[in-house]
Amino acid sequence: MKAAWITTALLALHSLSAARDWTQPTLAERAAEAAGRSPWESAFWIGLGLAGTLAAMTLLGLSLVYAERKIAARFQCRLGPTRVGWRGTLQTLADTFKLISKADLVPRDADRLLFFTAPWLVVSGMLLALVNIPASPLLFVVDLNIGLLFISAVGALSVLGILLGGWASNNKWSLLGSMRAGAQIISYELSLTLSLLVIVLFTGSLSLGEIVQSQQEGWWLWRGHLPAMVAFLVFVIASTAELNRTPFDLAEGESELTAGFHTEYSGLRFALFYLAEFLNMFIAAGLAATLFLGGWMPLHIAGLQTFNRVMDFIPPLVWFGLKTGGLIFVFMWLRWTFPRLRIDQLLKLEWRFLLPLSMVNLLVAALVLLLGVYGKGGPA
């Protein structure tokens, strides 16, 4: 009986992973295709995409916050939440319910319209970026041909939200925090985009689906030689800064600015900021995994046929999860290890070091591309 279950499960897994023709249509394409035949079918696909994204957002938010608290606890020789649910798994759910059911406070002198808009702006930017991330060939809401450009564009919406929130709160600490966040995010956006451009150069496409497929023969991290590695490092540093996480968490800087730009936010709106922070981390990690680590592609090592077969058997979603999870762990590791930079040091790091580095790196990448020395060896 047991054996039968295991075989069925393995077969099911295999059928998921056996979707090896990588031209699977995305949900958006299915909807467009269906639109000609029946509007209902089209609506079904659109609804599925929306519901899927929202569900993923909630689930990811809950589990990431839980993971962060547990991981932090382990770094600090503690246990973390243990009481609510099995080993504290329902802790974040309780937090969410509590935050939603808190009283709705708006400071008297706040700019009400902006105060209400800010958290939704942050979340909607994050949501728009999330639909682009290819989690597996089957779980792909939309594959825009300008996917990368779109993600960096809507990612910038969160800056606007933070600036508005800090301004609308009518609190000096909030304002200081949001101004810091503005200066920081706008600066680091430059080297972030430049490091993305390296991969765009290599693949010749802005579509995330195509970028994943271009890595069939090897992850860009290895195939791209030095420029890709440098770009990966710059990407990780710059996205930590974009995420406002330690060592770049100046916008919130608990010990300096009480709670930074969201000092005056409570209840649901604070929960949205909190959610956006964690989902942005997922997006950054997912993007890094997609661009540099082959997305949902399994790990292949040239010459080891049996090994590669076994790797093929693991479903793409698991691969994507593993890679993204690893990067998220790195982000959390950084957060619970490093002290915080000062604002002038932070800007110096970007303008005097990272920006020149990534510019030179882009030129080197172009050179590598011209000479055609990339594309061989390494794990794929």
């Binding site: 810091r180 330690t246 060592p247 002290p339 915080r340 930079l341 000062r342 604002i343 040091q345």
Partner: protein, 384 residues
């Protein structure tokens, strides 16, 4: 002509900053702010992120201890001294005890003095571990906070074995000690000291060697030796500025005259020097404790009847000693009763606080947090 008195309102004037043309503004840091470790309130005059002026506003925990002391017997005052600088409660107890013992002419024996010295050194370690943890947290690294507290907790339990209290000790009393040592005291302290030796190195690996931490500390808030003396700074703050002024060495009390230790002295007096001096003091205290725990002589631990009323002769008496934060002094003005006429504490934290008004202008908002952490202030001790 009577001198003019001011109120806080008179100071709240902003201006356009010279050169830049931007307007200055005031921000309240505290009384509820995570960086001020309690209820210290700093009024910051800022130009953008640059500090122009710092106005400390005290009194949010002014409990009038000096007034209360005038109505307490000398034994009761010991327990009030716990609640000043609660992280150096034993040192405060000891200082009050010393001034009462000298005024009453009580001589103590070698065992009492050795245990007092040992306890004071252990408490210095305990206080510095807490400082290190909070220091890390102020710089934005949360993990050191928990590691510091982890090591502190162990020592707290050792204290609790003997003293029966975790924080407000009330252990060193006029005439001796409240209790003798617990029978597990020596083995537990030995085990802890052995363990803690590796922990100090861990602290170094975790925070001292961190590039970001060094960038945040080196050359921030430099204070020269003369300035520090003029501002009344004592303890690690003064020693970081290059003045080797340590009462344990200059005017030894307890059994410090029989002990061999180095007084760490900084060079520039910046935040890094203050950090380094304290880390080095931990190592020195560790060595001192290792020596002391092996050399506790036999003898009685209480030389006067605990219930006896202490009546002091008329006069003004003063004693001071070196707590983890600097010189703690006690003025006692007696009129021959069993309660003092006037009792005054010289607070090390109050004097160290004024350094912030000197070193902060021109720095950034983030720097003031590093400076406050480097000065290691305990607010109830300032306000009394």
């Amino acid at each position: 002509m009577t001198p003019k008195t001011l109120t806080l309102q008179d100071l709240l004037r902003t201006d356009f900053a010279p050169g830049g043309g931007t307007q200055e503004y005031f921000v309240n840091m505290g009384p509820q702010h995570p960086a001020t470790h309690g209820v210290l309130r700093l009024l910051l005059k800022l130009d953008g992120e640059t500090l122009r002026q710092v106005i400390p506003v005290l009194g949010y925990i002014h409990r009038g201890i000096e007034k209360i002391c005038e109505h307490q017997t000398y034994r009761q005052i010991v327990h009030l001294s716990d609640r000043l600088d609660y992280l150096s409660a034993l040192a405060n107890n000891w200082c009050v005890t010393r001034v009462v013992e000298r005024a009453a002419g009580i001589e103590t024996n070698e065992r009492i003095e050795t245990i007092r010295t040992l306890m004071a050194e252990l408490e210095r370690l305990q206080s510095h571990t807490l400082w290190w943890g909070v220091f890390g947290m102020d710089l934005g690294a949360f993990t050191p906070f928990l590691h510091g507290f982890r090591d502190r907790e162990e020592l707290t339990q050792i204290f609790e074995d003997t003293i029966g209290a975790r924080l407000t000790m009330n252990y060193i009393q006029p005439g001796g000690l409240l209790h003798d040592l617990h029978k597990d005291f020596a083995p537990r302290v030995r085990a802890w000291l052995k363990d803690f030796g590796t922990k100090v190195d861990e602290y170094d690996r975790m925070l001292s060697g961190n590039l970001i931490a060094q960038k945040r500390l080196v050359d921030i808030g430099a204070l020269s030796g003369d300035e520090a003396l003029g501002l009344g700074a004592t303890g690690p703050v003064l020693r970081a500025s290059g003045v080797p002024w340590d009462l344990r060495r200059v005017r030894p009390y307890g059994v410090y005259d029989q002990l061999d230790f180095v007084v760490p002295v900084g060079e520039k007096g910046d935040c890094w020097d203050r950090y380094w001096v304290r880390i080095e003091e931990m190592r020195q205290s560790l060595a001192l404790c290792e020596t002391l725990i092996e050399n506790i002589p036999e003898g009685k631990t209480m030389l006067v009847k605990p219930a006896a009323k202490i009546r002091l002769p008329e006069g003004t008496f003063y004693e001071e000693l070196e707590t983890p934060r600097g010189i703690f002094g006690v003025h006692l003005h007696s009129r021959g009763k069993d309660m003092p006429w006037r009792f005054h504490f010289r607070s090390p934290n109050l004097h160290n606080l004024w350094c912030i008004t000197k070193i902060a202008p021109g720095a950034r908002v983030a720097d003031i947090v590093a400076m406050l952490a480097g000065l290691d202030l305990i607010v109830p001790d300032m306000d009394r």
